[in-house]
């Protein structure tokens, strides 16, 4: 027998579904066997971005081949709303007016998906069209209507500090949004039960919210609705709230017709009708001194939220929470502007506003560096949190776990930053057309939901009398490896090999009142809850053994598939079998809530984050100054995950997040026509990175000395979102390459995404300056 169990904590085991993934045997929702008689629903979408609906003629839809029913707002027994924050601004079906191009108006229910889809296009709708407000700039030019209450963070008094600063500058940055482009699009299937019951299979990060929304829409209590999700083919935040619409439509039709109903939009409709990352317009006024030290910052973060609030409140809040990144700002005021626009309602996306806030903050650093003729890294180092009296964030939380200086020091060394920067400067002197750029940027990301009550989790563990273990918890699996890591936690607790632990689909009837699997919190919350459940069962086994063998509980230990009782050792499964015969309860629920955190939004003060995760990246790029084309030549990453529960999985998160972040800042451009149509609504027009876009050299390391100061599960740190922002280094490296055409004297103010066009136009601007 080996020294340690297979698959315990801190082992790089493979994803629990890896062998099924590669064999095509992992079942996604659309792969499930449908109950006989399953009907298929399809949404009918608006083709007007803003206006009053004058008429809707659905006759041709109703009479189309195979159509069983057409659902509109009128037939909804409960509420025509799936607003996740209770603002009642997210109708399932538009009624009087439409607010964006692609807004659902009705749903067709037909014998096949193809028939439903064809019929959905036969509606005749007329509108009294109005001029749509399509982006933040247009909204600010107009009434600047907000979808939700804005946030202000203030510490000190930036107005006089700005006036008195030796140097001061203002600027603006436009930051594009991003489509999630999960490979599995939205999908739901509802199976009617007796009375008011319905079971909903949904590709969702938030089963409990699906449960609540379906219940509201059907006008039934939550206990009538069961939501089930085994896995998603990617989520990235896009399935935190956006699945509700599809689940609700499926459930409506299923209950009405007493048949199973499935709904799956085509990729184009998925991209047109569901929300994305928020675009931002950042305006900043910064005061600093000749050494590059930040003195004061006043900044506005205006976001294109779309027609409704969705999660725009917390998203724009998180933008403000991350504008400081790793830097202490003595006097600061930050304001969010969650603007209403006639576009699809934007939603959660990995980083949740944090990346946009941080990018704005990093632009300020870059501005200072160019103004002073310094390497931006020097300016960064001059401002890190950690000096005496320099550890208070704009939201008055103390940064007490800052390790960024040490990370940067190590990365600078391993990536040969200084030598390579010299080489880049040299290259640019001797090359006329191709130019290089290099940048090292840090990340500090706050971990915890800022909606404090979300920081709770439940788990349910059954130990069967053959010693096998079934694990269930409130977190969902979207590829991030949550099920694997939590299973490792449970294997570690019981000290059994991981193949004894079966992970099971997330279901609202097993663990209730779950939080979204979001905010990178999955392992922190569910790992702790599962450990708690395991510990309860262990305690019962210990009590049973202590009594039986008449030993003190302290003499009982779980170790390597055995339970040691004094000097004796018993196989885990034998103890379990015996415990069962002695009527020991072998099932337990577990619970966890994050300690210490609190947040007063009105005051803009508190400790919203339990801890921070850190990381840094050096990116080097090459651009072609004739066309604006470029590629990322080398990236070195050093990222902090505390004591990793599974390094292979964590590294996968870091690499994947980096490339996804790179896509956001480079080729992924959302483009709306003047009348409000999203024209980049499929992979043919919306370009996420492919294999050849990844850095030519990609060196990714985890910080091997970090241990979470906070008492998290096995002292690990959250990993889903923080590394996304490491990709800011790519944009800054591009920026440096562009700046070379004007001898680095002007900050290029490169907007995101920096498409080849954006790069070339910036070069042109600088050459003309």
């Amino acid at each position: 027998m080996s020294e340690q169990i297979k698959g315990g904590a801190h082992q790089s085991i493979i994803h629990e579904s890896a062998a099924k993934h590669v064999a095509g045997e992992a079942t996604y929702l659309d792969d499930m066997a449908e109950p006989s008689g399953t009907l298929h629903a399809y949404l009918g979408l608006s083709n007007c971005a803003s206006g009053v609906i004058k008429s809707i003629d659905l006759d041709a839809v109703r009479t189309a081949d195979g159509v069983v029913d057409v659902l509109t707002a009128k037939g909804i027994p409960g509420e025509n709303d799936v607003s996740p924050t209770g603002l009642h601004d997210d109708p399932i079906f538009a009624t009087d007016r439409v607010e964006f191009w692609g807004q659902p108006l009705f749903a067709v229910v037909a014998e096949t998906r193809e028939k439903a889809r064809r019929a959905a296009h036969l509606a005749k709708v007329t509108y009294a069209e109005e001029t749509p407000i399509l982006d933040a700039a247009a909204a600010l030019d107009g009434d600047a209507e907000l979808v939700t209450k804005p946030l202000r963070l203030k510490r000190g008094d930036p107005k006089p500090a700005l006036d008195q600063a030796p140097m001061r500058l203002q600027g603006e940055m436009s930051i594009g949004g991003q489509d999630h482009f999960y490979l599995e699009g939205h999908i739901a299937m509802a199976i009617p039960g007796e009375d008011d019951e319905v079971t909903v299979f949904s590709s969702t990060q938030h089963p409990t919210e699906i449960q609540h929304m379906v219940a509201h829409v059907l006008g039934v209590a939550a206990h009538a609705v069961t939501v089930n999700v085994r896995r998603m083919g990617g989520g990235f935040g896009g399935k935190e709230t956006q699945g509700s619409l599809f689940a609700a439509v499926a459930a409506l039709a299923a209950k009405k017709h007493n048949r199973a109903v499935k709904i799956r939009p085509d990729r184009d409709d998925d991209m047109v009708a569901t929300g994305k990352r928020h675009d931002f317009l950042v305006n900043y006024d910064v005061g600093f001194d000749e050494t590059g030290k930040l003195l004061a910052l006043d900044a506005d973060f205006a976001a294109r939220c779309g027609f409704s609030a969705d999660l725009s409140g917390p998203v724009t809040d998180r933008a403000l929470f991350h504008a400081d990144n790793c830097y202490f700002i003595p006097d600061v005021e930050l304001r969010s502007k969650p603007l209403k626009t006639n576009t699809v309602s934007n939603t959660a996306f990995r980083g949740f506003g944090g990346p946009q806030g941080m990018l704005g903050g990093e632009r300020v650093i870059e501005e200072i560096a160019y103004a002073l003729g310094k390497d931006p890294l020097e300016v960064r180092k001059a401002n890190f949190y950690g000096g005496k009296g320099e550890n208070l964030t704009p939201y008055h939380q103390e940064v007490d776990d800052c390790i960024i200086e040490k990370i940067i020091e190590e990365l600078e060394e391993t990536a040969d930053y200084q030598e390579r920067r010299e080489a880049v400067l040299e290259f640019n002197k001797s090359n006329r057309i191709l130019k290089r750029g290099i940048a090292l940027t840090p990340v500090k990301f706050g971990i915890s939901f800022t909606a404090t009550w979300y920081n709770q989790a439940g788990a349910l563990i059954h130990v069967y009398n053959d010693g096998s273990i079934q694990l269930n918890h409130g977190g969902t699996e979207m590829g991030q490896g949550l099920y694997t890591k939590v299973a490792q936690v449970v294997a570690e607790e019981f000290q059994v090999d991981i193949d004894q632990v079966k992970v099971t689909a997330t279901r609202t009837d097993k663990v209730p009142n779950t939080s979204a699997t979001a905010a990178s919190s999955g392992t922190d919350l569910n790992g702790m809850a599962a450990a708690n459940a395991a510990q309860k069962i262990k305690a019962r086994l210990v009590a049973f053994l202590a009594e039986k063998h008449d030993v003190d509980p302290s003499e009982i230990a779980f170790e390597n598939n055995q339970i040691l009782v004094g000097s004796e050792a018993f196989a885990f499964r034998d103890v379990v079998a015996e415990a069962y015969m002695n009527r020991v309860q072998l099932s337990a629920t577990g619970f966890y809530k994050t300690p210490e955190i609190h947040w007063d939004r009105d005051q803009g003060k508190g400790k919203p984050f339990y801890y921070f995760a850190y990381g840094a990246a050096v990116s080097e790029v090459v651009i072609d100054t004739l066309t604006g084309e470029y590629f990322v030549d080398r990236v070195d990453v050093l990222h902090d995950v505390g004591r990793s529960i599974n390094e292979a999985i964590d590294k996968g998160q870091v690499e994947g997040a980096f490339v996804q972040g790179m896509g956001w800042l480079t080729t992924e451009e959302l483009w709306w026509s003047k009348d409000g149509q999203l024209k980049t609504h499929a992979p043919s027009t919306y370009k996420i990175p492919v294999a050849s876009d990844r850095p030519r050299q990609f060196n990714v390391s985890l910080v091997n000395w970090s241990e979470n100061k906070a008492r998290t599960i096995h002292r690990s740190k959250a990993v889903g979102e923080p590394p996304f922002m490491l990709a800011i280094s790519v944009l800054e490296a591009l920026s440096m390459a562009v700046a070379s055409v004007a001898d680095y004297k002007i900050c290029p103010r490169l907007d995101a995404p920096a498409t080849p066009e954006c790069v070339l136009m910036a070069i042109k601007r600088l050459k003309g300056a």
Partner: protein
């Protein structure tokens, strides 16, 4: 004419005969809905994400060729005589994970797993052709597969290590090669496949021409990389339809003296070896057309006949002075490719006339010839601007210049004003810089989601400059070359 009223193909280990097939039935829907083979996924239904990748084996070339294809835009009507291999077959045949699958597991190549079956199939096709691939080869083979989770690094590592998990000669498709060829030969014949009144799959080009002339309203379905989207995105009716996939004589590519002769049904992939050998100036460019699956499916004839102003092949072919042969029944006529494109949406092609052949004069050694593609993403993107330059210099002066662009007008179009100022002028930077202004006389490009009008114009001008520098300076290194050089570095 002998006819057959069903299509026959092998699906994994099963012989399929279908008499009642709709023209617009995709292979993906057939697999997932009719056969509940649901390992193959739908990610985009437009051939751009690769989640639906399967292998299609066919007789041709030097025996049996397996190619990765996008089953979402491949029609069942096009499968006659083929062997379709799906993800289920790998483990099904091996009994355990196939070497490609083992490598993917070992290197943590899947996260959410939804794209994974498609990646496995693309890598399998690559491995059969190249069991010891380098990174550049892997990236080329994965251009048509999107992964949103991993950042690709673990998949590249897996791809490099497949042969550590098994030998190619032990692979079942390799081991069973002879018997599969036999099976496919047994279902091959020279009968016209005719399903109902509106689906045809001719066995040779003569049958094709004969059928098309009386059915001029028929949709010709060759690679279906465009027609596929008419169905999956626009829900257009495509029947009557003529599927050209059986036409091995319509795929021929040959060097004929100073000319390259390409039959209309030749795929980008089939042309690639010839490009590499005879027109190496297009080697990289050619590998940036679509992704691997699209290059395996899409045809040169289709790229031309479709008339798109942003097709990638017309600009270089026009710059080389290509002619096309149009055929209706037994009538043939020859036309310069440039003249074929009349205006947006309108080509010089009579009803019932097909693009039978493309005749391309090979560039001569002294010719300065290059083609460039500008797009947001390097690989598997549609051109914002596509440019081709073919210039001859005699005694330091430009004696001839043919410049053609895509993405700059309603058709692929020559820059005649620019050409005029170049011809006779010295081959110098001054000439080039002065000529740039004349692009405005040639083109008034549009703004759309791929690029703005000012960018298109600017980049068109600058591409002339790039062309000059690359040919005037022997030491010039292009961005593309640097990218490629980086690709070959050893992975950390």
């Amino acid at each position: 004419m002998k006819t057959r009223d069903c299509i026959r193909f092998w699906l994994n280990d099963e012989l399929i005969e279908l008499g009642d097939v709709k023209a617009d039935l995709t292979l993906l829907d057939y697999l997932r809905l009719a056969r509940t083979l649901r390992g193959t996924k739908e990610g985009c239904a437009e051939g751009d994400c690769g989640a639906c990748t399967v292998l299609v084996g066919r007789l041709g070339g030097d025996g049996l060729i397996y190619e990765s294809v996008n089953s979402c835009i491949r029609f069942v009507g096009s499968l006659d005589g083929t062997h379709v291999v799906t993800i289920e077959h790998l483990k099904g045949k091996v009994g355990e994970l196939h070497p490609v699958q083992q490598a993917m597991v070992e290197h943590h190549g899947s996260q959410c797993g939804f794209c994974t079956p498609g990646f496995v199939m693309s890598l399998y096709a690559m491995w059969m052709a190249e069991p010891e691939p380098d990174v550049a080869t892997i990236e080329q083979n994965l251009q048509g597969n999107l992964c949103r989770c991993t950042g690709y690094q673990p998949i590249i590592k897996a791809a490099l290590s497949v042969s550590e998990h098994g030998k190619l000669e032990d692979d079942f498709l390799v081991a069973e090669r002879a018997s599969i060829i036999e099976k496919l030969e047994a279902i091959a014949d020279d009968a016209l496949v005719k399903l109902g009144d509106d689906i045809f799959a001719p066995a040779n080009t003569d049958q094709f021409a004969e059928i098309y002339a009386p059915h001029p309203d028929a949709t010709i379905v060759a690679g279906s990389t465009d027609v596929g989207l008419w169905v999956t995105k626009f829900m257009r009716e495509i029947s009557p339809a003529i599927f050209t996939n059986r036409l091995n004589d319509f795929r021929a590519v040959e060097i004929d003296g100073d000319n390259l002769r390409i039959k209309g049904g030749a795929s980008y992939t089939e042309l690639l070896p010839v490009i590499d050998e005879h027109v190496p100036q297009l080697s990289r460019f050619w590998r940036r057309i679509g992704g691997e699956q699209v290059r395996n499916m899409g045809t040169i004839g289709g790229n031309i006949a479709n008339g798109s102003p942003i097709g990638d092949t017309p600009p270089p072919l026009i710059a080389l002075g290509a002619k096309i042969v149009l055929r209706k029944g037994d009538e043939r006529r020859e036309l310069s490719l440039e003249k074929f494109f009349i205006e947006y949406g309108k080509q010089d092609r009579a009803p019932g006339e097909l693009v039978e052949e493309i005749i391309v004069p090979l560039p001569k050694e002294a010719d300065l010839f290059a083609a460039y593609k500008i797009s947001k993403r390097r690989d598997e993107d549609i051109s914002a601007v596509c440019a081709a330059f073919n210039i001859q210099v005699d005694d330091g002066r430009i004696s001839n210049a043919v410049i053609a662009f895509g993405g700059m007008a309603g058709t692929p179009k020559r820059a005649t004003e620019v050409e005029k100022v170049l011809v006779g002028a010295p081959w110098s930077e001054r000439t080039i810089v002065d000529a740039k202004a004349f692009f405005e006389k040639d083109y008034t490009p549009l703004t759309d989601w791929r690029a703005s009008a000012p960018y298109r114009l600017e980049v068109a001008q600058n591409l002339l400059e790039r062309f000059y520098f690359e040919h005037a300076d022997e030491n010039a290194v292009s961005l593309d070359e640097l990218h490629q050089a980086g690709t070959l570095e050893v992975l950390a």
